[in-house]
Symmetry: C2
């Protein structure tokens, strides 16, 4: 079978199965693993608290297009998407490694701008970039790894959602995808709106502080929205063995997106790369979170019992099911660029 | 300027300079960094001892050729080269992440074999593979990251060599490069010899235990030989601000390589990928190391004061300088494949 037929998530399961056969669960370091393959970050217990590690890769012509790439944006985003995975665990990022595979004909000035932007964001979040690797390659592949730790004794996981909980999200959905459409030529009427969408797509701000506050207020289940609301909620449902029901009219869509993008519902459901935190909790907990956070916190649906093969259902204001346009980003199944830099 | 003009090590310096501008040395996590960019692995102080992290990437058509690749070998080697970096710090590897960028037309069976081989080696060295990332890409790029720790309070560094010390190496030099020549068609007279060279190139065994014993016996300076003896010794000289003198006739070259490869001196000096540990220490320390290790330990030269622009000098049995064929592997400067899998 080809990798493209199996798909990204099938491939992860296949690799996970291979690896699991060689583990020795009763011995360290396997014994100390709290969260292995399949969550936003790996987590293990150490004498120094819970340790976290995550990695994410940006591939030329899949995640970005060099003909239109701003290297500053690329440096920012390569680190930001990794920070977002630590945010989704409620953790503190601390150390980063950078592995760069790139063609020799690139300009060194571009790499300077890239490093500068990455280092600037790293400083903002108290992350020391301590090492990495450089290799020649026919096209650019950027891999960042972050090592962090939990603030207290808890972390946020994908596997702990329970039926009866509400589903909530920080910030807005669909702004990054709308920003991408705009950068590709779609006109946006007001200038300030355009700036907001550009920022949403090119300079997503990882929700590190927000993730830590979620834990502090009692939230246990979260994921960051990178592949799209439905796809990422699917990951929670799969690992928690639950279903989810989303109410379309409650999705927090920025007014600039509503006003300029007739397809705003699709952007909000499937757009991806918003790097907001999607979480589940009871109503009282969500009320506390709302008070503690500066950004909007919106309840968008409910966790239900695992009854349907379709894990995530979207309903309209009458409760009628809306057929979903598509499932979100999946590598090998989506042929076009995931994202774009101007 | 083009990246290819600056070269691999120039590019590392450029990135390092960018990043250093944004560090806050008196604050954590920067304050806790013991070894940053430029050594085999990064190291920092934690309440749980010294932590280590390293990453290494294998790029299709640079490090391997898929038309002739054995995926099992690739799985082994991708982890082994990272374990070797932890060995060169005298550390204990503990957790690994795997980032795979690959084309959808690959066979899933190949990825199974790859994962299996990697997991098998991981088990052998007590390493839990706890996460990673999958992305579609036009060609294969494999990045592995390892997080480990020191055994005691010391680690091996590149920056601590002193004039007057001897230079020593574990095992043999040039066997991996000879193995590559053999796999590309060069005939080797005896069958057992062929097996040894094949193994040296395709299944290098990381010197984890050896690194730990070096520390225990008092060694402080080491590097693993990945780019080639001269190139890697150059790294020690640069960071330690010393020169080095190597005695050609003392290089440990396996008799199969001597017997079958007229260019064996070049293979030993510049071949690379032997993943032996090159270290410096006084004679008494090296004598203790020799007693404690199972593998050969050979004194090959001396650390001298930093007087010459050419950091590493090779001399013959009369003490006359031998002109060096080339400096070892450097990305962007070497056009051909670094390695090959049959």
């Amino acid at each position: 079978m080809k990798v493209s037929e199996l798909g990204e998530f099938g491939l992860i399961r296949l690799i996970h199965t291979s690896i699991a056969r060689y583990e020795i669960p009763e011995q360290a370091p396997w014994r100390d693993v709290l969260v292995g393959i399949g969550d936003d970050a790996a987590a293990w217990q150490s004498d120094d608290g819970i340790q976290l590690a995550t990695t994410d890769t940006l591939v030329q012509d899949i995640h970005f297009d060099l003909r239109t790439t701003d290297w500053k944006g690329l440096g920012w985003k390569a680190l930001a998407v990794n920070l977002s995975d630590i945010a989704a665990m409620g953790g503190i990022p601390r150390y980063a490694l950078l592995s760069l595979a790139l063609p020799g004909e690139l300009e060194t000035e571009d790499i300077s701008e890239f490093s500068d932007a990455m280092a600037q964001l790293a400083r903002e979040f108290g992350v020391a970039i301590v090492g990495g690797n450089i290799a020649a390659a026919p096209n650019v592949v950027i891999t960042v790894m972050i090592i962090g730790r939990s603030k207290g004794k808890m972390i946020l996981k994908r596997s702990t959602a329970s039926p009866g909980e509400r589903i909530a999200i920080t910030g807005y959905l669909g702004s990054s995808a709308a920003g991408l459409e705009m950068l590709r030529g779609k006109s946006v009427s007001d200038r300030e709106g355009g700036r907001i969408l550009r920022q949403a797509h090119l300079k997503p701000m990882p929700k590190i502080r927000e993730g830590q506050i979620l834990i502090q207020e009692g939230v246990r289940t979260a994921i960051d929205v990178s592949d799209g609301l439905i796809a990422d909620l699917n990951h929670i449902c799969e690992l928690s063995k639950v279903n989810a029901r989303i109410r379309m009219e409650q999705l927090p869509v920025h007014q600039v997106v509503r006003a300029n993008f007739p397809n705003y519902e699709e952007l909000a459901l499937c757009g991806g790369e918003d790097y907001q935190i999607l979480f589940t909790a009871d109503e009282a907990t969500i009320a506390r979170v709302r008070l503690a956070l500066d950004c909007p916190v919106t309840v968008i649906g409910d966790v239900t019992e695992e009854k349907l093969a379709t894990r995530v259902t979207v309903v309209d204001s009458k409760g009628d099911v809306i057929p979903c346009p598509k499932g979100g980003w999946e590598h090998f199944k989506n042929g076009v660029l995931k994202t774009g830099f101007p």
